[in-house]
Symmetry: C2
Subunit: 367 residues, 2 copies
Amino acid sequence: MTASAAATENSIALEQDAFVAAVSDQLGVFLSEKGALLASISADTLVLVDSIKTLVTGGKRMRALLCYWGWRGAGGAPDAAEVVMAGAALELFQGAALIHDDIIDRSDTRRGGPSVHRAFATLHAERRWALDEERFGHAAAILTGDLCLSFSEEMFASIGAEAGSRARAVFNLMRAEVMAGQYLDILEEVSGPSKPHNTAVSRASAIIRYKSAKYSSEHPLVLGGALAGGSAKLLAGYSEFALPLGEAFQLRDDVLGVFGDPAQTGKPAGDDLREGKRTVLVGLTIDAANDADRKFVDSHLGRQDLTAEQIGRLCAIMVDSQALAGTEAMISVLSATAFAALAELPLAADVSAALSALGHAAVSRAS
Amino acid sequence: MTASAAATENSIALEQDAFVAAVSDQLGVFLSEKGALLASISADTLVLVDSIKTLVTGGKRMRALLCYWGWRGAGGAPDAAEVVMAGAALELFQGAALIHDDIIDRSDTRRGGPSVHRAFATLHAERRWALDEERFGHAAAILTGDLCLSFSEEMFASIGAEAGSRARAVFNLMRAEVMAGQYLDILEEVSGPSKPHNTAVSRASAIIRYKSAKYSSEHPLVLGGALAGGSAKLLAGYSEFALPLGEAFQLRDDVLGVFGDPAQTGKPAGDDLREGKRTVLVGLTIDAANDADRKFVDSHLGRQDLTAEQIGRLCAIMVDSQALAGTEAMISVLSATAFAALAELPLAADVSAALSALGHAAVSRAS
């Protein structure tokens, strides 16, 4: 690395740290105010805000950072309040999505700790309350997610983006698309086995586009650009970079969900297989596997009672069918497409370097 | 009725009908646009918007109408677009709340038809999809509710109320309060039996204030007034009318939930008792009943397997303990307080008459 590249990297890191700290402060102040509001209703409801606080304290802030560099790339100032609020709104939206996702996927852990519904079920058990602890956990988590979704929107509305503005349109589109994508995801879990196996990959690709790539990558970057008044051409260029990047990111997530180290991912081994996620990795597997192996995959994916041996066989089929290698190849192609598009964008060197670093971290991470 | 009173009643009915039709049109156009968006993702996701459409087509539009007369009472014009959008946003919010409520309460019916999670479970069964139909139903309904909540906010944002405006503050407060109130509701179901029975009524009163009265009555009326630029004094007067009215409305709902005619309410007999709702009616019962009856109530409320005989005994205890009579007395007192406050409001005769009619319908209804 040259001295000038090192200096750029250092200044990017400082700028990112300042932004991330500002987003955390914004979330902290906002959630404290909401805690005071809920306390005025009943101290018993404070646990809702505390759950949200715990959840949004963690995380990599990837969406907020993409929004930030989208903003900076379109000429936004480094220390502007709007982009901090937008970043906080994205983090709250992600929090809401995770709370409800974990109910849907029956995930008991999140970022190494208990998921929200699990934490409420534990509270129920500890207090020896009446009726069913699981049901209470789910109900409380549905409400916590709803509250977090409202908070996200309230935070976004506080920016004051006009009703017909591009930024508002992106925010609206993001929410509708991710919910539609999540529905396609659960639909594929139940209807996938009865559909042709040679279209499984294209179905899985559509799911990750809407459930993940647009929501986690494209829309945050474009939102930042739109808030700063970026041109339609610039925002289209953002999409050309961020959409394939987001797809590669989700493919990496799917690989880690099966082959990742539980100590690093914070999720138990085989969790994605028990959830029955019909990912591109699974699609490639059932498309390429022999009949016996395909039948084994179809009849075991989504079973809560999978044994370590069954998980081992599922992993072996994914490797032997070249599905894992195929997924890694797709990650490479999508990454190359994304970074080629990034190189074409008319961005200042520091913005370009920051987006490049974020992108590389997203597709080659281990957790 | 005098000729002039009849003329007023007729003109109110015409004006209300025009507003309700405008809200329905607004919802129809909006949901058609959202249907087109979802269809562009995948035709499979259209069912999400269709579920919302079915749900928001029914209902009494009580919240939208309160918003409307709040707007008119503060000088808003009869045919303004803002209040139509606000009414549509409130109806969408109510739709989202109902979808998630029905999951939480395990209610299989809504307005005489299947609830959303039940409809998705039936779809799963009809298509003979894999894995569990109940789980799919819940997951799909969580996502549909989230989508509907986002739609509500998108509709409200399209009004263009400024970030720091009173109307936006009311909309934000409404959402946080109702979610906190719903949490207190499910918390009381599980923790109520272990708390002192002589405070059950005051706990149940706090729940209906936040879960229902503020959300269904006070906030819609104040929202309409705030959008039209009503004075702080007028809006405070609105609260003095609408808060006790909303409490009386919910007490009526609780009575109907136990003693109502299933043919008229559209809910099976005993549904509220199986759900284990710890209403004011229940609070009065366990406070006044003898030890044996109280024990029977505490050990049977919330059981999914209640027999007709057990439901009959629960109802008998509510009557014999004078809890039903006490609830009716509370409805009378709250109604009188509300209508006395209404009489003090500086409103035109038609607005006052419209709010009076809405109020009387809310507290003396049979469905």
